[in-house]
Amino acid sequence: MTKIGKQTWGYTKPVYIQSTGTAVGPLEGQGPLKDTFDKVYSELHCNEDNWELAERRLMLDAVNQSLQKAGVDQRNIDLFLAGDLLNQNVTGNYVARHLGIPLIGMFGACSTSMETLATGAALISSGYAKHAIAAVSSHNATAERQFRYPTEYGGQKPKTATYTVTGSGAALLSSKPSAVKVEAATIGKVMDYGITDPFDMGSAMAPAAWDTIKTHLEDMGRVPNDYDVIATGDLSAVGSPIVRDMLKDDGYNISEVHKDCGLLIYHSEQPVFSGGSGCACSAVVTYGKLLNGLKDGTYKRILVVATGALMSPMMLQQKESIPGIAHAVVLAKEEGYE
């Protein structure tokens, strides 16, 4: 491991993504990326009795998919790094109960996808694990209950709101060479610019994404066009132009390469307000569409910047604002592998 610049990790011993698994709910399965997911449920309950069980089903499916594709026995996995949006990280914890793999539970709101991937890669690179699985999940109904109102409550949401993605993504990491290499990661600072509206998380998270992308480019001595894609997690239609403009003020033009997972995952006419959000948003888009792009050579190198709104309904009631965080991971095509 080497530290590069202020906040960036370089993986001296290379780490690769062996396989990924994704499982999603109905609305995601009707979206433009429907063919890139491993498993699509046609109903939000995913054949389970309640929403929390449904979310666990999704994560277990994603993990099992990644194990199957890599052909690795789960007894050979040294670490399971998992996180979700629910109190006490229940989805990760209860899925780990089934798996029998040592667990590191992580929380970074919707940035957990890249937080688990970056940390898992660091632990493999430094020799603390041979195989690790990084997994995250979110579910629209469990998130609504946790952060907002009961799912069937008839409150009206503004257009700046985002729609929590139902799904889970898992990535199996090891140092065995494969098509996708985890090249570097930039761990983000908590940034709070005073946004208090829980229906405007794009604005709340944009400063964190700005800071992480800027720091990453400075640390690595790169320009935006060194990447084929810079994908933010869930800034939505509101936060995306903010981060582009903030970076433009610093002399970085990311407009040509910037995409937002929250805007990629749904058709614009789907009822999702300003786009998708949640841990699963960046995970299922990265571990599906973006990784496919690296494998087939469409992309050579991408930067995934998972953004998280560290929101707590109780803190908001105490008149606090919403802090944001963003973690970035560089994924690169390893030539000679598919």
Partner: protein, 150 residues
Amino acid sequence: MPGFNSKEYKKTSQGYHPKPPYFINALKAFVVGGLICVLGELLSEMYIHWFGFKEKDAGDPTVATLILLAALATGFGVYDRLGQFAGAGSAVPVTGFANSITSAALEHKSEGLVLGVATNLFKLAGSVIVFGVVAAYVLGVIRFTWQALF
């Protein structure tokens, strides 16, 4: 924090928000709220003409029926969509109150009848009841004092 200026950022970020269609929203709320009231009026007439209720008493079964309909619509997953469309139009009438209670009950069914449903039933509607009772009490005291003095 460098460059941290929350007031300025809040203002800047507002510029990126899609403009809320205030007029259309108000119109939708007006029409849907009005239609719910028309339905209530029709029910009331029905109870008067077909079931022999006096005009004074027809309100009770009318409200009960509206509550039942709203609860059913909530259970079938329709009321939240109506709420997104109509806003205050479907939130203000008694049907909105019924929706807030039914949706909370449905949501917390998985935690059991006592600690789940019963405890959380008035999670959203509770504040309405508290302020309703407090306001009624305050007004009652004012009226009593007024009558005693004049």
